[in-house]
């Protein structure tokens, strides 16, 4: 899983039918110390994670397919957990 922070979202009118209506968040990948790395991953979100919160993102399509109605949806990253806090990591 990838630890990331939500920094925004995108909307789209023209997209693959399986992604229509799916909430797409812009998530910035965090390093061990929790600092932003500048790398942006677009992740689908069904948990309703708010902007600025830290989340766990899966990078495996099969996991993302659990929530997707259309099995042909080209989706890899999805938010599967909202992080409360990270312990024991030197910051």
């Amino acid at each position: 899983m990838i630890l990331a922070k939500i920094v925004g979202n995108v909307t789209s009118a023209v997209c693959h039918p399986g992604i229509e209506g799916v909430r797409l968040l812009l998530c910035e990948v965090l390093d061990d110390a929790g600092n932003a790395t500048g790398k942006i991953i677009g992740a689908a979100d069904w948990l309703g994670a708010g902007e600025g919160s830290k989340v766990l993102i899966t990078a495996d399509g099969d996991a993302a397919q659990l929530h997707v109605e259309d099995p042909n949806t080209p989706l890899r990253n999805a938010v599967f957990g909202i992080v409360d806090h990270v312990e024991g990591v030197k910051s």
């Binding site: 920094v7 925004g8 979202n9 995108v10 909307t11 789209s12 009118a13 023209v14 997209c15 693959h16 399986g18 992604i19 797409l24 812009l26 910035e28 932003a36 500048g38 790398k39 942006i40 991953i41 677009g42 992740a43 902007e51 600025g52 399509g61 993302a64 099995p71 042909n72 949806t73 080209p74 989706l75 890899r76 990253n77």
Partner: protein, 95 residues
């Protein structure tokens, strides 16, 4: 899913049969800096993305890479990056 700016197109003259009529975009990947500053381009190498949505130069797209890029096709396809989303609006925190 990674995002990128479409900066060009690739036209094939020879290809394997599954790729008949395929459309390819040259996409420069976007990091946070590129999201915040429209005319800055990242120095990451550009990537070529299969496009079925009809994106053209200047648009920002979200593309899926890896095995999941072949999901929209019926049979096996030699494609590893697929244009899934043409981005309309971007909402991002200021800093």
């Amino acid at each position: 899913m990674r995002f990128g700016k479409v900066i060009g197109k690739v036209v094939l003259n020879q290809h394997c049969d599954q790729l008949a009529g395929s459309r390819w975009l040259v996409v420069s990947p976007m990091g946070k800096a590129e999201f915040q500053n429209e005319d800055s381009y990242s120095n990451e190498p550009s990537t070529i993305v299969y496009d079925a949505l009809g994106a053209n130069e200047g648009s920002i797209i979200g593309f899926t890479e890896g095995g999941e890029a072949t999901l929209p096709f019926d049979g096996p396809m030699p494609v590893d990056s697929y244009n899934a989303v043409i981005v309309d609006q971007i909402q991002m925190e200021a800093k």
